[in-house]
């Protein structure tokens, strides 16, 4: 059975590691130590389990998408409903875990970055719950795209700091959060929202999301008496995907398929497909696949979905990719929008744009997969994307003359 664990220095094969300014090295060692202690502490696990169940709403349903499956005439498709969690996406799993850890470490202040705003909202939520001071860094462009989530964060008591550098998206928000952390490391915990960054973050974030795959595995065995043939999850940094994949890594017959953002073309700068368009490099604390130019400058990215619009993929995905244990493909903006419409019509579920990328790949493959079982991780709900759906579906908008 294949092992996918970082070694003692946080490497997944050649990927991962700890590439940060010296100021952060000792604090990362301290965080790793605190995390290992907490994860072995039954009291910590019981408290987290209680919050996941009674506050966040776990376990989430595994829903048989009968109408979608029938309309495609092939694979039987299940949806793992992470979108039904409190705050509307899987992000809350990790936020509850890290907030409990921050409290345990005596940190009073939390900083976070956010792309689509889901991690920002989940961070603001747990800070409200635990009485922690919360600052969220968000690219100015993403604040425009995700106005509703900005408002939700503020309503929850968080300070949202617009980031105006570079592409004004997730990459720049992470850089700015890291600058804050370098400065305030004594008082502050950096609640990183994806399976990215320096060790122990990729390990810790994955562990907090591992419950997604564990529940799915147990439930599908109960319902179908066998494991799925293919599992689909969108990959930005890759937290929902690694949380879903991890329980299945040893099940070699289960195909693990990660879907990156194809944006609007395969030209550098117009997508976020790190595996097809990038190469190994170091960014934001880790070694992994990154979109960069020939001089090692990190490239700009584009996706209609802010949560997938990032130049680097988490290091464990890079390792799984090189080991051929999981495969990565990409879905473009328009195909993701179409998949969201299909899911809305067939199942009455409006997915987050990120998750719509995973749905799209399942829709592509299902017709040729009669008799197979698919699981799609529906990582988030689409409420936050209403403005973008409106922009892209003008024929449905009554303020638009076409409708009348």
């Amino acid at each position: 059975m294949m092992i996918s664990q970082p070694d003692s220095t946080g490497h997944f094969g050649p990927y991962g590691g700890r590439f940060v300014p010296e100021v952060l090295m000792a604090p990362l060692e301290e965080l790793e130590h605190a995390y290992r202690e907490a994860s072995a502490d039954p009291k910590f696990q019981a408290e987290l389990g209680d919050l996941l169940h009674n506050y966040a709403g776990r376990p989430t349903p595994l829903y048989h998408a009968k109408h979608l499956s029938e309309s495609l005439g092939g694979a039987k498709i299940y949806l793992k409903r992470e979108d039904l969690l409190h705050t509307g996406a899987h992000k809350i799993n990790n936020c509850l875990g890290q907030a409990l850890l921050a409290v345990r470490m005596g940190k009073k202040r939390i900083i976070a970055e956010t792309g689509a705003g889901q991690h920002g909202v989940a961070s603001a939520t747990v800070c409200a719950l635990f009485g922690l001071d919360c600052t969220v860094y968000m690219g100015e462009e993403d604040m425009r795209r995700q106005r509703l989530n900005v408002f939700r964060m503020r309503m929850l008591g968080a300070k949202v700091v617009p980031v105006t550098n570079g592409s004004r998206t997730l990459k720049d928000a992470i850089s700015e959060a890291m600058r804050d952390w370098v400065t305030n490391v004594h008082s502050t915990h950096y609640l990183l929202g994806s399976a990215l960054g320096a060790h122990p973050y990729p390990l810790m974030v994955r562990d907090f999301h591992r419950v997604i795959g564990e529940e799915t595995r147990a439930e599908i065995l109960k319902r179908e008496g066998r494991l799925p043939d293919s599992i689909f999850a969108c990959v930005g940094g890759g937290s929902n995907a690694i949380g879903m994949f991890h329980a299945f890594i040893g099940d070699e017959k289960v195909k693990l398929i990660g879907i990156e953002a194809g944006g609007h073309s395969d030209r550098l700068g117009e997508h976020a497909a790190r595996f097809s368009g990038g190469s190994p490099g170091v960014l934001h604390g880790a070694h992994s696949y990154v979109l960069q130019n020939e001089d090692g400058q990190v490239a700009l990215t584009h996706s209609v979905s802010a949560g997938l619009d990032y130049a680097m993929v988490g290091p464990e995905h890079a390792w799984l990719h090189d080991q051929h244990r999981s495969e990565y493909t990409s879905v473009g903006d328009q195909e993701a929008l179409n998949a969201a419409m299909t899911l809305a019509h067939k199942e009455g579920i409006i997915p987050a744009l990120e998750s719509a990328h995973a749905v799209a790949e399942a829709i592509r493959r299902a017709p040729a997969a009669k008799g197979e079982l698919y699981v799609v991780n529906l990582s988030g709900r689409g409420d936050k994307d209403t403005d973008i759906y409106r922009e892209n579906l003008p024929e449905l908008d009554e303020q638009n003359p076409v409708h009348v």
């Binding site: 700890r18 570079g166 370098v182 490391v185 604390g285 090692g296 990190v298």
Partner: protein, 253 residues
């Protein structure tokens, strides 16, 4: 003893950081000449990177200007060659790991040496990850300077001392690069702890921008590094030589 280390003999070293190629590659050799006339002993030649997480707004803007002007690693090495036509001032490449990885560690070490570079400092490369890099640099005869910080544990300071050649760069406080009104009180304890681990010269940087601060730090350390204040002067088209001279006076006075 390397050209970098020997610059600390005799007097307290004034070290200036500027971003190569800011605002254009043509300007950098002129700036280096002005700094040298003003009494600077060593130049940290910044290679601009798109995502400089350890830098404050002034140096970020400098990197943006340099990148817009087409500055690449290759171009920075050409700038170094140009500087070497007229000056023997020690040159330390100062950047982030990714542009160097992309160039190739061995190729970089070889080409940097040929261009007259004396050593290298990578802000986001910790000693734990540094073995391949240190091997490549040693082979080419280049110094490797590492950072020590107020948060570094005694075990880490020991490793930083072991991996460094030329000098050790002490970060005066937690935070990004940038000018500060007050000096951090973590400087003296850090200098003392590092002295216990190494005989190498110790330079202190981050937040030093006035002759008075330079004077105070020079009482403790063997060298002081000024970065953002110089980059700001470049941004405003000010007098690099005059400012360097005032810092020199502060150190020597």
């Amino acid at each position: 003893m390397s050209r970098i280390q020997s610059t600390f003999n005799g007097r307290k070293a004034l070290i200036a950081y500027i971003t190569a190629g800011d605002p254009t590659p043509e300007k950098t050799p002129e700036f280096v000449a002005a700094l040298e006339r003003g009494g600077v002993d060593l130049i940290e030649l910044g290679v601009p990177f798109s995502d400089p997480i350890a830098d404050g707004p002034v140096i970020q803007r400098g990197a943006d200007r340099a990148l817009k002007a087409g500055t690449t690693v290759k171009k920075v090495l050409e700038i170094a060659k140009k500087i070497r036509e007229k000056s023997q001032i020690p040159l330390l490449l100062f950047t982030y790991l990714n542009p160097i990885l992309r160039y190739g560690l061995d190729a970089l070490a070889r080409d940097a040496k040929a261009a007259g570079i004396d050593g290298c400092l990578l802000t986001d490369l910790s000693v734990e990850e540094a073995s391949p890099y240190v091997a490549a640099m040693r082979k080419a005869g280049l110094d490797t300077v590492f950072l020590a910080a107020p948060t570094s544990t005694p075990e880490r300071l020991k490793l930083v001392g072991e991996y460094s050649t030329g000098f050790v760069y002490l970060v005066s406080r937690t935070g990004v690069t940038g000018e500060r009104a007050e000096l951090s009180n973590s400087v003296a304890p850090l200098v003392n702890s590092m002295r216990a681990e190494t005989k190498l010269p110790l330079a202190v940087g981050f937040g030093i921008s006035t002759p008075e601060q330079a004077h105070d730090v020079a009482q403790l350390a063997d060298g002081i590094v000024v970065g953002s204040a110089f980059v700001r002067i470049i941004e405003q088209g000010g007098d690099l030589e005059g400012f360097a001279r005032s810092l020199r006076k502060g150190i020597d006075g």
